[in-house]
Amino acid sequence: MTLKNKVSKALLSLSLLAFILFVVYILYINREVFYTAHDRSEFLFGAPFFHTLLSKPFGLMRYVGAWLTQLFCHPALGSGVLVIFWALIFFVGVKAFRLKGSASALMLLPIACLLTSVVDLGYWVYISTIRGYWFSQSVGYLVMLLLLWMARQTPRKWHLVWYLLAFCIYPVLGWFALLFVLCLVVTEKLTWRELIGIVLLVFTANIWHTQLYSNQNFSDVVLAGLPRFATTIDSTERLSIPFWVLGAVSLLVSCRLTDWGIGRLVDWSFGRLVLPIVCTVAGVVFTCSFMFRDQNYIDEMRMVRYAEDDNWKEVLRIAEVNKKPTHTMVFLKNVALMNEGGLLDRSFKSGNIGFPITNPESLHVTLLEIASPLVYYNYGMINEAIRLSFELATHYGFSPFYLKVLSRCALAKGEEKLEERYTTILHHHPFYGNCLRLPLSRLGHSCQHDGSHCPIGWQPAPVTAKVNELQHSFPDELSGVENSDSYIVNNISFWYESDSKAASEQALFYSMISCDSHRFWPSLRKYLTLHEGDIFPVHAQEAYILFMDKAPEEKRVMIPVEETVYNRYIKLLDVMAKKVKPGKTFGQVAEEMRGEWGDTYWFYYFFGRQYSNTSDRNANEIQS
């Protein structure tokens, strides 16, 4: 072996190793995304789901992909399977494209595309309607490579048969069948066989549409399986790029064996040396430039996961270290405080100002899509939780997340048969049933008591006393179609009529959040009546002092407050009077005051209010 060959081999090995480490790292840092992927991906047992998917081209791949997505329940397991698919893609691709030596590094590029496609979704993870997305492309591409490998083992005169086969299996492989034909065509010089292949390729979708899929929209048949990211209000082309690149790379690599393009580069000795490095770097750069990375995005997922398990301590732990929480995180934190205690003593200390999500594509994703069924459930607003779960699941699929919430709601409403239906469906999930159940705390509740064995599979956690109390603390009325975070705030802030202690605490808290004195005073009165003898919480004292100052009632309620709290308020007014000057914005003043006063209700009232008529005044200039 010459030195050049040795160096070339070493560089290839090092590049592969570096790429593997990179893949493992990327998968590791996205483990929470993968857990969420399983939680928000629909896979239902039985004929209806199977037939629904199979009624469209590429349906089988989607079905297989949807089943495999369940493995992300344990992100390491799902990622491991994904890595196995990519390893197979590498080895089969090397054979299919007949890549030798350093040229095999070219197969890193398709893998980088597939890796990118599972880490670039961002908030689409909550609203994507593509069933089996996370695995179907890798499985489809692997099958395509296997076909290509086999096709190239056969004499050229047989290629026509392969073109016909590709046409026949379009319902299974979708756009990968077309890619297969193209890859096979470009490996050879054009003859009448290739021309027939191309003609067949052009008319494949049309023929299948008329013959088998006439009850489908043509747009669902053409390039079937190529992921298209579009909902009724959002769409993006960006997320389809990795798949176009995957196709283009596959074609280019196929061309290598002809006289055009890359073949010459690979045959060039220097090219042979640098190719593995170039491919690795290109793969890494491509993935990194498309990958969605945002701490709040991950933290939200973690909080939702813990909230699903009623693990409120963990929810609070995440909230405490996050200084710029999203609206979803703020709501989940307050639900956690309701359950752990200390809502009116601790909530404003960690801030109640929600920041917008990192949303480069301006997706319509809010608390609604991320966690609202959970929030509604925990506030005892079961009908709303059911409705939202249905509305969202109808769009995005009856994934474990929605089935779990619906199951808990059915239990809370006393609808045993309905709860049975949802849990039965969940039990067919490999990790929610009783066969592959692992002793992981995240999976369920009733089975955790002994921490090890669960003979009956996932069961909804018993309805907590708080949820039970809250769901019976407000009268029934007909509500409209509105559903947003302000709906929660407005609704709960009117619960002051209730004689429930839990409801009165929430009413007082959300009347403070709404910064509305007309709701604050009756809420406070009810709270004090029901919490007689309890310590007057700090934030309630702050609100009391503020509203006594800014919006007192004619008949004042006189309550003793701590002197330190009162003195702090006087100081705040003094400092604010000095800082608020014409020409400055409220936002600038807020930033100057955040350090000292950011832990108070007053700071929220003056600078952070989000659910009142003057909520967007931070950008406004102070006039006088």
């Binding site: 239902l44 004929a47 929209n217 009908n383 469906i425 407000f474």
Partner: protein, 501 residues
Amino acid sequence: MKRYISSYIILQAFAVMLLSSCANHPSVPSDTSASSVLPPIFPDYCDVTVPYNIAPLNFMLPADEYDECVARLTTSDGQQQTYGHGVKVQIPESEWHAMLNASKGKSIKVEVWGQKEGKWLSFSPFEIHIAEEPIDEYLSYRLIEPSYIVYDYMEIAQRNLTTFEETQIFNNKVTCDDSKGQCINCHSYQNYKTDNMLFHVRVTRGGTVIVNDGKISKVDLKRDYTISAGVYPSWHPSAKLIAFSTNQTHQSFHTAHPNKTEVYDLASDLILYDIATDSVSVISNDSTLLEVFPTWSPDGKYLYYCKSVPLPEEMRDKDIRATYSKIQYNLYRRSFDVATHVFGEEELVYDAASVDKSVSLPRISPDGRYLLFALGQYGCFHIWHHDADIVCIPLVAPPSPDTPQPSPLDLTMLNGKDAPDSYPSWSSNGHWIMCASRRDDGNYSRVYFAYFSNGKVKKAFLMPQEDPEMHISLLKSYNRPEFMVEPVRISVNEFSKVFDK
């Protein structure tokens, strides 16, 4: 040689698999302990009466309680066969139909054994009674999530009741590229036949798709003088006329009530559409009252419909959210002259409000002797009302204020307990009543049938499925089930072409 051996083994294995997949006839468990209760099978087919042409009544024992199930069916002439695979009993269609034919007018005895923790339990046997009257061969329904506002994929499908074959009549995606989506609804047929039928398409490329003697067209039924396009239809039995209600329908959501959803009309009238002349005439448009759910008598001489009772004076100007629970409908009818298209005076048929109830969805039996309707406390959209039941009254005498209100027949065998039962209808021979019911879990509506003869009703049974677990795994509701004596032969593709015009 080796190759031949392995090929032989594979062939043998394949043959065994093929045979085992055809039918499973397990042996009856020998060591059993007897139980005096009926088996807890789902669906509950114990002692039901079924038509002789119905698809196999496949059932299962609860999978979380039992490991295996064996059932032995014995016909009246002594033929026996056993079935069971896991906890499911799925009977091959040919064997089932042979048993039904042998038992017409008689019963099939069913013995069930369930295995729990390695021990077999023998339940009390039950019978399936086979009626001599067949059920209409086809049924169509809309499959839709029992959702609120949002909808995604929606289809109107038809099911062959003698088999498990289900095909699509139309779906809401085939012609719709618009982000607003498309809603399809209210499929309806003339005299149970499909060469004259219709369904509505709303939102994108909306209109009413009408099939007139097999010819498809799309029409817009909205006129300047109507409050909406046609909504709830009823085909005249002999003329090319369709009575519709026109509705301003709204939907609100209960914040705590188990009913969850409330659907109500802010306004509704009745119109008559003449297909031949594409003309719409008003039947009834009292702006202070709500008229809805027209249905023709089988002879076409009367149009029955529901009409709201005036609200008390003090409630009339109040918001619908305050008054919705006070709106009650009575059942009326008007005579109709098919030659002149003139309607007679209104006659009260059933005064539901006098018993503090509200009537909706009337249907008259093919022989004209009985009237079915859904009855609830208030409103007209009873499929969300847990107190709603199906009621049947005899239509013997012409209604008049002097004659006493007819007494309802005993339909306890048809109605579910504390669950919404709605959308009743008659089979074409008048011996089968069908309704949509949420009795299984309060949420997903399923189709139930009950045998009807001389005013007596037998225990209702759930529409059978090939896999009994599909009743659980199908997360869609059966909406607006309608009997048909023949399938819709127009393909989805053919229907979709009407949208290109």
